[in-house]
Symmetry: C2
Subunit: 266 residues, 2 copies
Protein backbone atom coordinates (compact mmCIF):
# COMPACT_ATOMS: atom_id res chain seq x y z
CA UNK A 1 0.00 0.00 0.00
CA UNK A 2 2.96 2.26 -0.50
CA UNK A 3 4.46 2.68 2.96
CA UNK A 4 6.47 0.83 5.60
CA UNK A 5 3.44 0.65 7.91
CA UNK A 6 2.44 -2.50 6.03
CA UNK A 7 5.28 -4.33 7.75
CA UNK A 8 4.23 -3.43 11.28
CA UNK A 9 0.54 -3.99 10.64
CA UNK A 10 1.18 -7.39 9.10
CA UNK A 11 3.45 -8.53 11.91
CA UNK A 12 1.08 -7.36 14.62
CA UNK A 13 -1.86 -9.16 13.01
CA UNK A 14 0.15 -12.36 12.44
CA UNK A 15 0.92 -12.38 16.18
CA UNK A 16 -2.78 -12.52 17.14
CA UNK A 17 -4.31 -15.78 18.35
CA UNK A 18 -6.97 -17.43 16.21
CA UNK A 19 -9.71 -16.20 18.53
CA UNK A 20 -8.34 -12.65 18.48
CA UNK A 21 -8.20 -12.73 14.69
CA UNK A 22 -11.81 -13.83 14.60
CA UNK A 23 -12.87 -10.62 16.38
CA UNK A 24 -10.87 -8.39 14.09
CA UNK A 25 -8.62 -5.39 14.57
CA UNK A 26 -9.11 -1.66 15.12
CA UNK A 27 -6.93 1.33 14.43
CA UNK A 28 -7.45 5.06 14.37
CA UNK A 29 -5.50 6.84 11.71
CA UNK A 30 -5.99 9.29 8.90
CA UNK A 31 -2.91 8.15 7.10
CA UNK A 32 -0.90 5.16 6.00
CA UNK A 33 -1.67 2.99 9.04
CA UNK A 34 -5.37 2.93 8.13
CA UNK A 35 -4.54 1.48 4.73
CA UNK A 36 -1.89 -0.86 6.12
CA UNK A 37 -4.17 -2.41 8.75
CA UNK A 38 -7.00 -2.74 6.22
CA UNK A 39 -4.85 -4.51 3.65
CA UNK A 40 -3.01 -6.73 6.14
CA UNK A 41 -6.34 -7.78 7.69
CA UNK A 42 -7.93 -8.37 4.30
CA UNK A 43 -5.12 -10.74 3.34
CA UNK A 44 -5.82 -12.80 6.45
CA UNK A 45 -9.60 -12.54 5.94
CA UNK A 46 -10.31 -10.81 9.23
CA UNK A 47 -12.34 -7.63 9.79
CA UNK A 48 -10.51 -4.29 10.13
CA UNK A 49 -12.33 -1.39 11.82
CA UNK A 50 -10.80 1.94 10.90
CA UNK A 51 -11.66 5.10 12.83
CA UNK A 52 -11.02 8.13 10.61
CA UNK A 53 -11.63 11.85 11.10
CA UNK A 54 -14.66 12.92 9.09
CA UNK A 55 -12.53 15.53 7.27
CA UNK A 56 -9.99 13.00 6.00
CA UNK A 57 -9.41 13.33 2.24
CA UNK A 58 -11.80 11.30 0.09
CA UNK A 59 -8.86 9.57 -1.63
CA UNK A 60 -7.71 8.16 1.71
CA UNK A 61 -11.19 6.93 2.61
CA UNK A 62 -11.47 5.32 -0.83
CA UNK A 63 -8.12 3.59 -0.41
CA UNK A 64 -9.12 2.18 2.99
CA UNK A 65 -12.45 0.95 1.60
CA UNK A 66 -10.64 -0.50 -1.42
CA UNK A 67 -8.52 -2.60 0.94
CA UNK A 68 -11.66 -3.82 2.73
CA UNK A 69 -11.47 -1.58 5.82
CA UNK A 70 -14.74 -0.82 7.64
CA UNK A 71 -14.69 2.94 8.30
CA UNK A 72 -16.26 4.79 11.20
CA UNK A 73 -16.06 8.55 10.81
CA UNK A 74 -15.70 10.75 13.87
CA UNK A 75 -14.94 14.33 14.77
CA UNK A 76 -11.37 15.34 13.98
CA UNK A 77 -9.96 15.30 17.51
CA UNK A 78 -7.61 12.77 19.03
CA UNK A 79 -10.08 12.28 21.91
CA UNK A 80 -13.00 11.46 19.60
CA UNK A 81 -10.89 9.01 17.64
CA UNK A 82 -9.60 7.31 20.77
CA UNK A 83 -13.10 7.08 22.30
CA UNK A 84 -14.55 5.52 19.17
CA UNK A 85 -11.68 3.01 18.89
CA UNK A 86 -12.17 2.09 22.56
CA UNK A 87 -15.90 1.57 21.95
CA UNK A 88 -15.20 -0.83 19.07
CA UNK A 89 -12.65 -2.72 21.17
CA UNK A 90 -15.24 -3.05 23.95
CA UNK A 91 -18.27 -3.91 21.86
CA UNK A 92 -16.65 -6.22 19.32
CA UNK A 93 -13.76 -7.61 21.38
CA UNK A 94 -11.52 -6.42 18.56
CA UNK A 95 -7.80 -5.81 19.14
CA UNK A 96 -6.45 -2.27 18.95
CA UNK A 97 -3.34 -1.92 16.85
CA UNK A 98 -1.44 1.24 17.66
CA UNK A 99 0.42 2.74 14.67
CA UNK A 100 3.75 3.04 16.49
CA UNK A 101 3.63 2.21 20.20
CA UNK A 102 3.14 -1.56 19.99
CA UNK A 103 6.07 -3.95 20.24
CA UNK A 104 4.89 -6.18 17.40
CA UNK A 105 4.34 -3.18 15.16
CA UNK A 106 7.83 -1.94 16.10
CA UNK A 107 9.42 -5.32 15.32
CA UNK A 108 7.59 -5.46 11.98
CA UNK A 109 8.86 -2.01 11.02
CA UNK A 110 12.39 -3.17 11.81
CA UNK A 111 12.36 -5.75 9.00
CA UNK A 112 13.29 -3.13 6.39
CA UNK A 113 16.59 -2.46 8.19
CA UNK A 114 17.18 -6.21 8.53
CA UNK A 115 16.80 -6.61 4.77
CA UNK A 116 18.99 -3.61 4.05
CA UNK A 117 21.77 -4.97 6.28
CA UNK A 118 21.44 -8.36 4.62
CA UNK A 119 22.17 -6.68 1.27
CA UNK A 120 24.80 -4.23 2.59
CA UNK A 121 26.39 -5.61 5.73
CA UNK A 122 29.08 -2.90 5.84
CA UNK A 123 26.84 0.14 6.36
CA UNK A 124 28.12 2.77 8.80
CA UNK A 125 24.68 4.27 9.34
CA UNK A 126 21.04 3.58 8.72
CA UNK A 127 18.91 6.71 8.58
CA UNK A 128 15.14 6.82 9.04
CA UNK A 129 12.50 9.47 9.74
CA UNK A 130 10.99 9.79 13.21
CA UNK A 131 7.34 10.56 13.84
CA UNK A 132 5.52 8.25 16.25
CA UNK A 133 8.75 6.33 16.74
CA UNK A 134 7.76 2.86 15.52
CA UNK A 135 10.04 2.78 12.49
CA UNK A 136 12.92 4.35 14.41
CA UNK A 137 12.66 1.94 17.36
CA UNK A 138 12.28 -1.09 15.07
CA UNK A 139 15.19 -0.04 12.88
CA UNK A 140 17.39 0.62 15.92
CA UNK A 141 16.68 -2.87 17.30
CA UNK A 142 17.46 -4.37 13.89
CA UNK A 143 20.69 -2.41 13.54
CA UNK A 144 21.76 -3.37 17.07
CA UNK A 145 21.25 -7.08 16.41
CA UNK A 146 22.10 -7.38 12.72
CA UNK A 147 24.60 -4.60 12.06
CA UNK A 148 28.34 -4.86 12.47
CA UNK A 149 29.56 -1.32 13.22
CA UNK A 150 26.32 0.26 12.02
CA UNK A 151 24.54 3.03 13.92
CA UNK A 152 20.98 4.31 13.69
CA UNK A 153 20.22 7.96 13.15
CA UNK A 154 16.94 9.77 12.55
CA UNK A 155 15.80 12.85 10.72
CA UNK A 156 13.04 15.02 12.16
CA UNK A 157 11.42 18.26 10.99
CA UNK A 158 12.50 21.31 13.00
CA UNK A 159 8.80 22.27 13.05
CA UNK A 160 7.82 19.09 14.91
CA UNK A 161 10.95 18.27 16.88
CA UNK A 162 9.33 16.46 19.80
CA UNK A 163 11.62 13.41 19.48
CA UNK A 164 14.75 15.56 19.46
CA UNK A 165 13.57 17.36 22.59
CA UNK A 166 12.56 14.08 24.23
CA UNK A 167 16.14 12.84 23.81
CA UNK A 168 17.39 16.03 25.48
CA UNK A 169 15.03 16.02 28.46
CA UNK A 170 14.70 12.26 28.95
CA UNK A 171 10.89 12.32 28.86
CA UNK A 172 8.33 12.18 26.08
CA UNK A 173 7.84 15.71 24.77
CA UNK A 174 4.96 16.78 22.55
CA UNK A 175 4.56 19.40 19.82
CA UNK A 176 2.54 22.51 20.57
CA UNK A 177 2.25 23.03 16.84
CA UNK A 178 3.45 20.83 13.99
CA UNK A 179 3.33 22.89 10.84
CA UNK A 180 5.47 20.70 8.62
CA UNK A 181 5.02 19.34 5.10
CA UNK A 182 6.18 15.99 6.51
CA UNK A 183 2.66 15.17 7.65
CA UNK A 184 3.54 11.65 8.77
CA UNK A 185 5.92 13.00 11.40
CA UNK A 186 3.61 15.22 13.45
CA UNK A 187 2.93 12.62 16.14
CA UNK A 188 4.91 12.06 19.31
CA UNK A 189 6.78 9.09 20.77
CA UNK A 190 5.19 6.43 22.97
CA UNK A 191 6.20 4.77 26.23
CA UNK A 192 7.12 1.50 24.51
CA UNK A 193 9.29 2.89 21.69
CA UNK A 194 10.90 5.79 23.58
CA UNK A 195 13.15 3.66 25.85
CA UNK A 196 14.31 1.69 22.79
CA UNK A 197 15.10 4.94 20.97
CA UNK A 198 16.96 6.31 24.00
CA UNK A 199 19.05 3.17 24.24
CA UNK A 200 19.89 2.46 20.61
CA UNK A 201 19.66 5.66 18.54
CA UNK A 202 22.84 7.68 18.10
CA UNK A 203 21.39 11.00 17.06
CA UNK A 204 18.27 12.79 15.90
CA UNK A 205 19.06 15.47 13.32
CA UNK A 206 16.55 18.28 12.78
CA UNK A 207 15.93 19.79 9.34
CA UNK A 208 14.18 22.83 7.88
CA UNK A 209 11.15 22.63 5.58
CA UNK A 210 13.14 23.82 2.55
CA UNK A 211 15.67 21.06 3.13
CA UNK A 212 12.89 18.47 3.16
CA UNK A 213 11.45 19.71 -0.14
CA UNK A 214 14.86 19.85 -1.75
CA UNK A 215 15.72 16.29 -0.65
CA UNK A 216 12.33 15.08 -1.89
CA UNK A 217 12.91 16.66 -5.26
CA UNK A 218 16.39 15.15 -5.53
CA UNK A 219 15.04 11.62 -4.98
CA UNK A 220 12.20 12.20 -7.47
CA UNK A 221 14.50 13.59 -10.14
CA UNK A 222 17.53 11.37 -9.78
CA UNK A 223 16.22 8.09 -8.40
CA UNK A 224 12.86 8.37 -10.21
CA UNK A 225 11.13 7.15 -7.06
CA UNK A 226 7.99 8.83 -5.77
CA UNK A 227 8.36 9.50 -2.08
CA UNK A 228 6.18 11.50 0.28
CA UNK A 229 7.66 14.47 2.16
CA UNK A 230 8.12 12.54 5.44
CA UNK A 231 10.27 10.07 3.54
CA UNK A 232 12.72 12.76 2.41
CA UNK A 233 13.61 13.84 5.94
CA UNK A 234 16.52 11.40 6.52
CA UNK A 235 18.21 12.44 3.25
CA UNK A 236 17.74 16.07 4.28
CA UNK A 237 19.42 15.23 7.59
CA UNK A 238 22.39 13.53 5.91
CA UNK A 239 22.78 16.45 3.53
CA UNK A 240 22.61 18.97 6.36
CA UNK A 241 25.46 17.29 8.20
CA UNK A 242 27.65 16.45 5.22
CA UNK A 243 30.85 16.51 7.24
CA UNK A 244 29.70 13.86 9.67
CA UNK A 245 28.78 11.49 6.85
CA UNK A 246 31.66 12.16 4.47
CA UNK A 247 33.19 8.87 3.26
CA UNK A 248 30.63 6.93 5.28
CA UNK A 249 28.29 4.35 3.85
CA UNK A 250 24.77 5.40 4.74
CA UNK A 251 21.60 3.41 4.06
CA UNK A 252 18.33 5.32 4.00
CA UNK A 253 14.98 3.63 4.54
CA UNK A 254 12.47 5.10 2.09
CA UNK A 255 9.39 5.03 4.24
CA UNK A 256 6.53 5.76 1.88
CA UNK A 257 5.24 7.22 -1.36
CA UNK A 258 1.63 8.15 -0.70
CA UNK A 259 1.51 11.69 -1.96
CA UNK A 260 -1.25 13.80 -3.45
CA UNK A 261 -0.04 14.50 -6.99
CA UNK A 262 -2.29 17.55 -7.13
CA UNK A 263 -0.49 19.16 -4.18
CA UNK A 264 3.21 18.93 -4.93
CA UNK A 265 5.58 21.46 -3.34
CA UNK A 266 7.38 21.94 -6.65
CA UNK B 1 20.83 9.21 -16.87
CA UNK B 2 17.26 8.07 -16.48
CA UNK B 3 16.40 6.43 -19.80
CA UNK B 4 17.07 3.28 -21.85
CA UNK B 5 19.12 5.28 -24.39
CA UNK B 6 22.11 4.76 -22.09
CA UNK B 7 22.19 1.11 -23.16
CA UNK B 8 22.36 1.83 -26.88
CA UNK B 9 24.81 4.70 -26.55
CA UNK B 10 27.13 2.64 -24.36
CA UNK B 11 27.05 -0.37 -26.68
CA UNK B 12 27.66 1.73 -29.80
CA UNK B 13 30.63 3.49 -28.19
CA UNK B 14 32.11 0.23 -26.88
CA UNK B 15 32.04 -1.11 -30.45
CA UNK B 16 34.28 1.70 -31.74
CA UNK B 17 37.93 1.02 -32.52
CA UNK B 18 40.58 2.71 -30.41
CA UNK B 19 41.30 5.22 -33.16
CA UNK B 20 37.60 5.98 -33.60
CA UNK B 21 37.24 6.52 -29.87
CA UNK B 22 40.14 8.93 -29.95
CA UNK B 23 38.25 11.20 -32.38
CA UNK B 24 35.09 11.16 -30.33
CA UNK B 25 31.40 10.80 -31.09
CA UNK B 26 28.65 13.09 -32.34
CA UNK B 27 24.89 13.00 -31.96
CA UNK B 28 22.09 15.43 -32.61
CA UNK B 29 19.28 15.26 -30.12
CA UNK B 30 17.25 17.48 -27.88
CA UNK B 31 16.34 14.66 -25.59
CA UNK B 32 17.62 11.62 -23.76
CA UNK B 33 20.11 10.54 -26.43
CA UNK B 34 22.13 13.72 -25.93
CA UNK B 35 22.57 12.89 -22.25
CA UNK B 36 23.17 9.19 -22.92
CA UNK B 37 25.95 9.78 -25.46
CA UNK B 38 27.55 12.40 -23.20
CA UNK B 39 27.60 10.14 -20.16
CA UNK B 40 28.64 6.99 -22.01
CA UNK B 41 31.51 8.89 -23.69
CA UNK B 42 32.56 10.52 -20.43
CA UNK B 43 32.86 7.10 -18.79
CA UNK B 44 35.25 6.02 -21.54
CA UNK B 45 37.06 9.38 -21.47
CA UNK B 46 36.33 10.29 -25.07
CA UNK B 47 34.88 13.56 -26.39
CA UNK B 48 31.13 13.77 -27.13
CA UNK B 49 29.89 16.51 -29.48
CA UNK B 50 26.21 17.17 -29.02
CA UNK B 51 24.23 19.20 -31.55
CA UNK B 52 21.19 20.70 -29.85
CA UNK B 53 18.49 23.09 -31.06
CA UNK B 54 19.07 26.55 -29.58
CA UNK B 55 15.56 26.50 -28.06
CA UNK B 56 16.14 23.29 -26.10
CA UNK B 57 15.21 23.67 -22.42
CA UNK B 58 18.02 24.97 -20.21
CA UNK B 59 17.66 21.93 -17.91
CA UNK B 60 18.51 19.63 -20.80
CA UNK B 61 21.53 21.68 -21.82
CA UNK B 62 22.70 21.69 -18.21
CA UNK B 63 22.32 17.91 -17.97
CA UNK B 64 24.36 17.38 -21.15
CA UNK B 65 27.09 19.73 -19.90
CA UNK B 66 26.99 18.02 -16.50
CA UNK B 67 27.79 14.73 -18.23
CA UNK B 68 30.70 16.32 -20.09
CA UNK B 69 29.02 16.78 -23.49
CA UNK B 70 30.37 19.56 -25.75
CA UNK B 71 27.29 21.40 -27.05
CA UNK B 72 26.88 23.16 -30.38
CA UNK B 73 23.62 25.05 -30.64
CA UNK B 74 21.88 25.36 -33.99
CA UNK B 75 18.56 26.47 -35.41
CA UNK B 76 15.69 24.21 -34.46
CA UNK B 77 15.27 22.38 -37.77
CA UNK B 78 16.19 18.82 -38.55
CA UNK B 79 18.24 20.08 -41.56
CA UNK B 80 20.33 22.47 -39.47
CA UNK B 81 21.00 19.78 -36.87
CA UNK B 82 21.96 17.24 -39.49
CA UNK B 83 24.25 19.70 -41.31
CA UNK B 84 26.07 20.66 -38.12
CA UNK B 85 26.52 17.02 -37.11
CA UNK B 86 27.90 16.26 -40.60
CA UNK B 87 30.33 19.16 -40.29
CA UNK B 88 31.67 17.85 -36.98
CA UNK B 89 32.02 14.35 -38.43
CA UNK B 90 33.99 15.80 -41.36
CA UNK B 91 36.19 18.22 -39.48
CA UNK B 92 36.98 16.12 -36.42
CA UNK B 93 36.73 12.61 -37.88
CA UNK B 94 34.23 11.93 -35.12
CA UNK B 95 31.72 9.06 -35.41
CA UNK B 96 28.04 9.88 -35.71
CA UNK B 97 25.82 7.86 -33.37
CA UNK B 98 22.22 7.85 -34.53
CA UNK B 99 19.68 7.65 -31.70
CA UNK B 100 17.75 4.73 -33.19
CA UNK B 101 18.85 3.71 -36.69
CA UNK B 102 22.22 2.14 -35.87
CA UNK B 103 22.60 -1.60 -35.41
CA UNK B 104 24.84 -1.31 -32.34
CA UNK B 105 22.45 1.17 -30.73
CA UNK B 106 19.59 -1.23 -31.51
CA UNK B 107 21.41 -4.20 -29.98
CA UNK B 108 22.24 -2.15 -26.89
CA UNK B 109 18.59 -1.19 -26.42
CA UNK B 110 17.66 -4.87 -26.64
CA UNK B 111 19.56 -5.71 -23.44
CA UNK B 112 16.64 -4.59 -21.25
CA UNK B 113 14.43 -7.29 -22.81
CA UNK B 114 17.21 -9.85 -22.41
CA UNK B 115 17.41 -9.05 -18.69
CA UNK B 116 13.64 -9.12 -18.29
CA UNK B 117 13.43 -12.55 -19.96
CA UNK B 118 16.25 -13.81 -17.77
CA UNK B 119 14.16 -12.87 -14.72
CA UNK B 120 10.79 -13.98 -16.18
CA UNK B 121 11.32 -16.62 -18.84
CA UNK B 122 7.61 -17.40 -19.15
CA UNK B 123 6.40 -14.04 -20.44
CA UNK B 124 3.75 -14.14 -23.16
CA UNK B 125 4.46 -10.59 -24.31
CA UNK B 126 7.00 -7.84 -23.95
CA UNK B 127 5.58 -4.39 -24.58
CA UNK B 128 7.62 -1.29 -25.44
CA UNK B 129 6.95 2.17 -26.86
CA UNK B 130 7.85 2.95 -30.46
CA UNK B 131 9.30 6.27 -31.58
CA UNK B 132 12.44 6.10 -33.70
CA UNK B 133 12.28 2.31 -33.53
CA UNK B 134 15.59 1.51 -31.82
CA UNK B 135 14.11 0.14 -28.60
CA UNK B 136 11.40 -1.74 -30.46
CA UNK B 137 13.80 -3.38 -32.95
CA UNK B 138 16.30 -4.26 -30.22
CA UNK B 139 13.62 -5.70 -27.95
CA UNK B 140 12.15 -7.72 -30.84
CA UNK B 141 15.55 -9.26 -31.65
CA UNK B 142 16.05 -10.07 -27.96
CA UNK B 143 12.59 -11.62 -27.64
CA UNK B 144 13.13 -13.67 -30.81
CA UNK B 145 16.41 -15.11 -29.56
CA UNK B 146 15.85 -15.29 -25.80
CA UNK B 147 12.08 -15.74 -25.42
CA UNK B 148 10.27 -19.06 -25.38
CA UNK B 149 6.74 -18.31 -26.62
CA UNK B 150 7.12 -14.58 -26.05
CA UNK B 151 5.99 -11.99 -28.60
CA UNK B 152 6.89 -8.31 -28.95
CA UNK B 153 4.23 -5.64 -29.15
CA UNK B 154 4.50 -1.85 -29.21
CA UNK B 155 2.41 1.08 -28.08
CA UNK B 156 2.29 4.25 -30.15
CA UNK B 157 0.39 7.53 -29.74
CA UNK B 158 -2.53 7.89 -32.15
CA UNK B 159 -1.29 11.46 -32.73
CA UNK B 160 2.08 10.23 -34.09
CA UNK B 161 1.19 6.85 -35.55
CA UNK B 162 3.85 6.68 -38.26
CA UNK B 163 5.09 3.23 -37.18
CA UNK B 164 1.57 1.79 -37.22
CA UNK B 165 1.03 3.16 -40.72
CA UNK B 166 4.45 1.93 -41.84
CA UNK B 167 3.47 -1.60 -40.84
CA UNK B 168 0.27 -1.24 -42.93
CA UNK B 169 1.86 0.16 -46.08
CA UNK B 170 5.19 -1.67 -45.93
CA UNK B 171 7.25 1.51 -46.24
CA UNK B 172 8.54 4.08 -43.75
CA UNK B 173 5.76 6.62 -43.14
CA UNK B 174 6.27 9.97 -41.45
CA UNK B 175 4.07 12.20 -39.29
CA UNK B 176 2.69 15.39 -40.76
CA UNK B 177 2.08 16.56 -37.24
CA UNK B 178 2.96 14.92 -33.95
CA UNK B 179 1.04 16.70 -31.23
CA UNK B 180 1.45 14.17 -28.45
CA UNK B 181 2.51 14.46 -24.82
CA UNK B 182 4.77 11.46 -25.48
CA UNK B 183 7.51 13.71 -26.82
CA UNK B 184 10.02 10.91 -27.18
CA UNK B 185 7.83 9.17 -29.77
CA UNK B 186 7.46 11.90 -32.39
CA UNK B 187 10.25 10.60 -34.63
CA UNK B 188 9.89 8.06 -37.45
CA UNK B 189 11.48 4.67 -38.15
CA UNK B 190 14.76 4.17 -40.00
CA UNK B 191 15.86 1.85 -42.79
CA UNK B 192 17.89 -0.33 -40.42
CA UNK B 193 15.29 -0.86 -37.71
CA UNK B 194 12.16 -0.99 -39.91
CA UNK B 195 12.89 -4.40 -41.53
CA UNK B 196 13.59 -5.86 -38.06
CA UNK B 197 10.30 -4.45 -36.77
CA UNK B 198 8.41 -5.80 -39.78
CA UNK B 199 9.85 -9.26 -39.26
CA UNK B 200 9.65 -9.67 -35.48
CA UNK B 201 6.95 -7.38 -34.04
CA UNK B 202 3.47 -8.84 -33.65
CA UNK B 203 1.43 -5.69 -33.40
CA UNK B 204 1.58 -1.93 -32.88
CA UNK B 205 -1.32 -0.69 -30.77
CA UNK B 206 -2.29 2.97 -30.98
CA UNK B 207 -3.52 4.93 -27.96
CA UNK B 208 -5.21 8.25 -27.24
CA UNK B 209 -3.57 11.06 -25.26
CA UNK B 210 -5.94 10.62 -22.31
CA UNK B 211 -5.01 6.94 -22.12
CA UNK B 212 -1.31 7.86 -21.97
CA UNK B 213 -1.86 10.31 -19.12
CA UNK B 214 -4.01 7.86 -17.22
CA UNK B 215 -1.44 5.05 -17.57
CA UNK B 216 1.32 7.43 -16.49
CA UNK B 217 -0.62 8.41 -13.41
CA UNK B 218 -1.33 4.77 -12.54
CA UNK B 219 2.38 3.90 -12.58
CA UNK B 220 3.24 7.00 -10.52
CA UNK B 221 0.56 6.33 -7.93
CA UNK B 222 0.74 2.58 -7.57
CA UNK B 223 4.32 1.65 -8.48
CA UNK B 224 5.78 4.91 -7.09
CA UNK B 225 8.04 5.12 -10.14
CA UNK B 226 8.52 8.39 -12.00
CA UNK B 227 8.13 7.75 -15.70
CA UNK B 228 7.91 10.19 -18.58
CA UNK B 229 4.81 10.22 -20.80
CA UNK B 230 6.45 8.21 -23.63
CA UNK B 231 7.12 5.46 -21.11
CA UNK B 232 3.43 5.09 -20.24
CA UNK B 233 2.38 4.29 -23.80
CA UNK B 234 2.82 0.47 -23.64
CA UNK B 235 0.72 0.23 -20.46
CA UNK B 236 -1.91 2.37 -22.15
CA UNK B 237 -1.84 -0.07 -25.08
CA UNK B 238 -2.25 -3.14 -22.84
CA UNK B 239 -5.10 -1.45 -20.98
CA UNK B 240 -6.82 -0.48 -24.21
CA UNK B 241 -6.85 -4.07 -25.43
CA UNK B 242 -7.65 -5.80 -22.14
CA UNK B 243 -9.27 -8.78 -23.82
CA UNK B 244 -6.23 -9.69 -25.83
CA UNK B 245 -4.03 -9.67 -22.74
CA UNK B 246 -6.39 -11.25 -20.24
CA UNK B 247 -4.63 -14.02 -18.30
CA UNK B 248 -1.42 -13.35 -20.19
CA UNK B 249 1.89 -12.52 -18.58
CA UNK B 250 3.06 -9.20 -19.99
CA UNK B 251 6.40 -7.54 -19.31
CA UNK B 252 6.60 -3.81 -19.91
CA UNK B 253 9.91 -2.04 -20.47
CA UNK B 254 9.87 1.25 -18.58
CA UNK B 255 11.85 3.38 -20.98
CA UNK B 256 12.59 6.55 -19.08
CA UNK B 257 11.81 8.98 -16.31
CA UNK B 258 13.10 12.35 -17.47
CA UNK B 259 10.12 14.56 -16.88
CA UNK B 260 9.77 18.23 -16.09
CA UNK B 261 8.18 18.26 -12.62
CA UNK B 262 6.90 21.76 -13.26
CA UNK B 263 4.84 20.59 -16.25
CA UNK B 264 2.92 17.55 -15.11
CA UNK B 265 -0.34 16.65 -16.88
CA UNK B 266 -2.06 16.01 -13.56
Amino acid sequence: MGAFKMRGATHAILKLSESERHHGVVTHSSGNMAQAVSLAAQRLSIPAYIVMPENAPQAKKDAVRGYGGIITEVESTIEARQAEADRIVRERSATLIHPSNDINVILGQGTAAVELLRDYSDLDYIAVPVGGGGLLAGSAIAVHHHGEACKTIAGEPMAADDAYRSMQTGKIEKNESADTIADGLRTHLGDINFPIIQKYVEEIIRVEEAEIISAMRLIWERMKIIIEPSCAVPLAAITRQRNKFENKKVGIILSGGNVDLAKLPF
